[in-house]
């Protein structure tokens, strides 16, 4: 059911690999450039916007991860460089990770009040 209101109770900030550490146990959105998609598609490895290697554990209910080069993983940060994905979506074949990383850094500095 689509509700006619704005809900900001559960933010999912966009982060790079380094910023994941600040959101341990919280839900975040992370763009990964996939490097491997193994174990029947339940484990996804890739590089975050700042180049950090991150492992995403996908729930079986999510089905197969998109096959695109870049993937946006939404999930709970479970440890350093590890995330338990609750949602995955294609993020295209050509993304400027430098710009995305700069955007993440700025959002969590001067743009913090706009997102959290």
């Amino acid at each position: 059911m689509t509700t006619t209101n704005i809900d900001i109770s559960a933010p999912k900030p966009k982060v790079n690999g380094e910023q994941m550490g600040l959101f341990s146990g919280k839900t975040v959105q992370l763009v990964l450039e996939t490097t491997s998609n193994s174990e029947g598609g339940s484990v996804l490895k890739g590089k975050a916007a700042d180049g950090m290697e991150v492992t995403a554990h996908l729930d079986q209910s999510l089905g197969a991860a998109p096959r695109s080069r870049f993937i946006e993983v939404e999930g709970v940060v479970t440890g350093p460089q590890e995330i338990k994905a609750t949602n995955v979506a294609s993020f295209g074949e050509s993304v400027d990770l430098f710009a995305y990383n700069e955007m993440c850094k700025m959002l969590h500095a001067k743009g913090r009040e706009m997102i959290l």
Binding site: T3, T4, A89
Partner: protein
Amino acid sequence: MSFNFGNDGATQFQGGGYGTNTGASGGDPSSYQKRQQEDSITPVTIKQISEATASSAEADEFALLTGKPIGLVTIVGKIVSKEETGAHKLLSVDDGTGACCCKEYPGEETAEGANEVTFETNEYVRVTGKLKSWNDARYIQVMNCRKITDFNEVAFHFLDAMYASSRFSNEKGSSVAAQATTATGAAPAAYAMPTSGNNPDAGGSLQEQLLAIYNNPSGPAAGDSGIEISEMCKLLGGKYTMDAVREAVEMLSNEGHVYSTITDDHHRSTSI
């Protein structure tokens, strides 16, 4: 289930949007300004529109926390749910800062089935529309909704939203400064001294006091040759030694605030 929206942005934005100058000539400037605010599209996050203050509940007028009035807004996010009723279509869009309901009343083109685009959940879209409220619930009345195919647009949107927010804050800051100078009868430049005379007792560091005198367009330093350092010492009431003043002036010169004129001891502001 498929879900359709009209996707003919070019025609939907006719008569509004960026760079519309209708009404600039001969019209009431305040109404032109108001119209410009209504026509301009502000890139925002959903958290920003959630925190926006309602300046007029009846007319659906809102202002962001920075004070910027918002007419049309544009957001970029993922579709989390969709629903179609007889009268309108509802999309819930989440941009990571929150989720917002977007409501579209089908126009003629969508009713005829032309230019229809199918949206699926978990897909990135850009939604442009008017922020509305009904029964204390806010939603966006969609004017245009389109899929995002180049995902650099996601980073672009958030950078754009930050830029728009800081630009308005800066504009507000400089307009306040300009008003202050106009009110006291001095030059309208934001950095000009807010009084018409020299006021070395105004406080601040030696450099600030020097700059105030140099930048005063009707003061003793405004002539073509500027002012000599010894003269400046006198204007400062003899509170500083000649060497201290010379050192401060050299620093201002190195930073580009003043330049030497007829001799090495004469300096003039670069700002007047």
